[in-house]
């Protein structure tokens, strides 16, 4: 199987891993957003809490979520290793640099990724950790014969803290920039550069990179201002 390890350690193989894990994380962003927008429903948190219960108890979703943790770690570790190798391949920098020939995001993917990772740690510490290991009150709803954790209440208290809201917004801006380059870059890495489809992929990438972070940002802003 040496050809497999040759491939995975080749420059193109390493980038393929970035591309596939990146696209996987993009698909996760959509699912996660769809679920979380239920926080905006005016039902005292019922639909969100029931949804959160389903996501944490369904064996299929639980399996996928382990894939997700592995995917994020693989993407982050591989990304940092690539960035370090690239930095040393360049060696010294130019005295004069116009910076005009490539976008800021494309040259700072590792920095943006690190910001996203820092955000993820805050985010997971705030919700995931409390949900798994902390004390979250249980609530019962009409028509549902089991009690669920009142995560909605946790969201409510977290987003009253302006520092948390700012941390979320910084994380989401980093995500938007990461995707502005990353979305289309993932397709180029896969070798999908095509006269007919590439303009569409690039357009989709820009729309996605702006709309998705904005939709996420609405949640903390809405809770901070109106709840």
């Amino acid at each position: 199987m040496s050809w497999v390890s040759n491939f995975l350690t080749s420059s193109i193989g390493k980038k393929l891993i970035m591309s596939l894990t990146g696209l996987f994380l993009i698909s996760f962003l959509v699912v996660h957003l769809a679920g979380n927008l239920q926080l905006l429903a005016n039902d005292g948190g019922k639909s969100f809490n029931v949804y959160a219960y389903f996501m944490t108890h369904n064996p299929f979703i639980k399996t996928i979520s382990f894939g997700l943790y592995a995917g994020i770690l693989l993407h982050a570790i591989q990304g940092i290793l690539i960035a370090l190798k690239n930095r040393s391949a360049k060696g010294s920098r130019y005295a004069v640099s116009t910076g005009a020939n490539a976008s800021f995001a494309s040259k700072n993917m590792a920095l943006l990724g690190t910001l996203i990772f820092a955000f993820l740690l805050i985010h997971m510490g705030d919700f995931w950790f409390k949900m798994k290991f902390g004390a979250v009150d249980m609530v019962a709803y009409d028509g549902i014969d089991y009690k669920v954790q009142d995560l909605y209440d946790k969201v409510l208290t977290s987003f009253k803290n302006p520092l948390v809201v700012v941390a979320y917004l910084v994380g989401l801006i980093a995500l938007a920039l990461h995707l502005l380059h990353g979305f289309q870059s993932a397709f180029q890495t896969l070798g999908l550069n095509h006269k007919k489809y590439t303009p569409f992929i690039k357009g989709m990438g820009v729309i996605f990179s702006i709309l998705v972070p904005i939709a996420y940002a609405i949640i903390p802003i809405y809770f901070f201002l109106f709840k």
């Binding site: 420059s11 393929l16 190798k85 005295a95 004069v96 020939n101 180029q188 890495t189 070798g191």
Partner: protein, 253 residues
């Protein structure tokens, strides 16, 4: 002929062990000179003063050999797009300008002296597979091997790569993907080269990695600075044919 007085900040480095530094020089040029002619004027004055002339590479001086590598004010081959340093004219600068001139910067292109870097890593990538092993004989009759016009154009566009290394110089990762993909494409798109394409792409990528070039982040800086305007669609082609060759053929290199 209008005269120009320029200040040059030139990278001077005795050899690969020297750490190198910038030296400032005044030079009188005129707007009809090429950039290299302006450097010739500088070197003439240095020689007359019994100082060491600035070492820089040049050969054809008509934009086809790829020798004239230097970074001018932060841009490989200078400010004009699609142009080599030898074809860059001084009318793109103003009298009184300060021009900073540096060598290509990449681990795989060690500095030999001043602005001259060792690009033999590119030669070794070519030696790894950038050729056709069989004798293709006399020039073919125009229609003996039908090739679709679009394909011929794509191959030709890729074949205009002069191996100058500006792509590596421009890349923040010092990646050689544009160069290597141009070579892989120009041979692989045509019938005579297509035969060995699968093996070639694996061999050339392997050599490229061994030379210590960085990985491609798809920043696109290379295609902006390439004097031959080679497109990064070639990189996508190399990515997919490399993966196709690794997974779809029985070849391992």
């Amino acid at each position: 002929m209008s005269d120009m007085n320029l200040t040059l900040k030139v990278w001077r480095q005795k050899n690969n062990n020297d750490s190198g530094r910038f030296e400032s020089y005044q030079v009188a040029a005129n707007e009809h000179m090429s950039f290299l002619e302006m450097l010739d004027v500088l070197n003439q004055t240095l020689i007359e003063k019994k100082e060491e002339p600035v070492a820089f590479e040049h050969d054809c001086r008509e934009g086809i050999c790829g020798a004239c590598s230097m970074v001018i004010n932060g841009r490989p081959h200078g400010p004009q797009g699609g142009t080599t340093t030898c074809q860059l004219h001084m009318r793109h600068f103003k009298s009184g300008d300060t021009i900073t001139i540096e060598p290509w910067r990449a681990k795989a292109f060690p500095v030999i002296k001043d602005l001259v870097v060792d690009r033999s890593s590119f030669d070794r990538i070519i030696q790894a597979g950038g050729y056709i092993s069989v004798n293709t004989g006399q020039a073919q009759d125009g229609n003996a091997i039908p090739i679709e016009k679009d394909l011929a154009l794509q191959a030709f566009d890729a074949a205009t790569c002069i191996g100058c290394g500006a792509c590596v110089a421009a890349c923040p990762n010092a990646s050689a993907m544009l160069f290597t993909s141009a070579k892989v494409s120009h041979l692989g798109l045509l019938p005579q080269g297509e035969v060995e394409h699968s093996k070639r792409v694996q061999s050339m990528v392997k050599q490229m990695d061994e030379e210590g070039f960085g990985m491609c982040s798809n920043t696109g800086a290379c295609e902006v600075e390439c004097p031959k305007e080679i497109s990064i669609t070639n990189i996508a082609r190399m990515n997919r044919t490399y993966m196709g060759s690794v997974f779809g053929s029985d070849k391992t290199v």
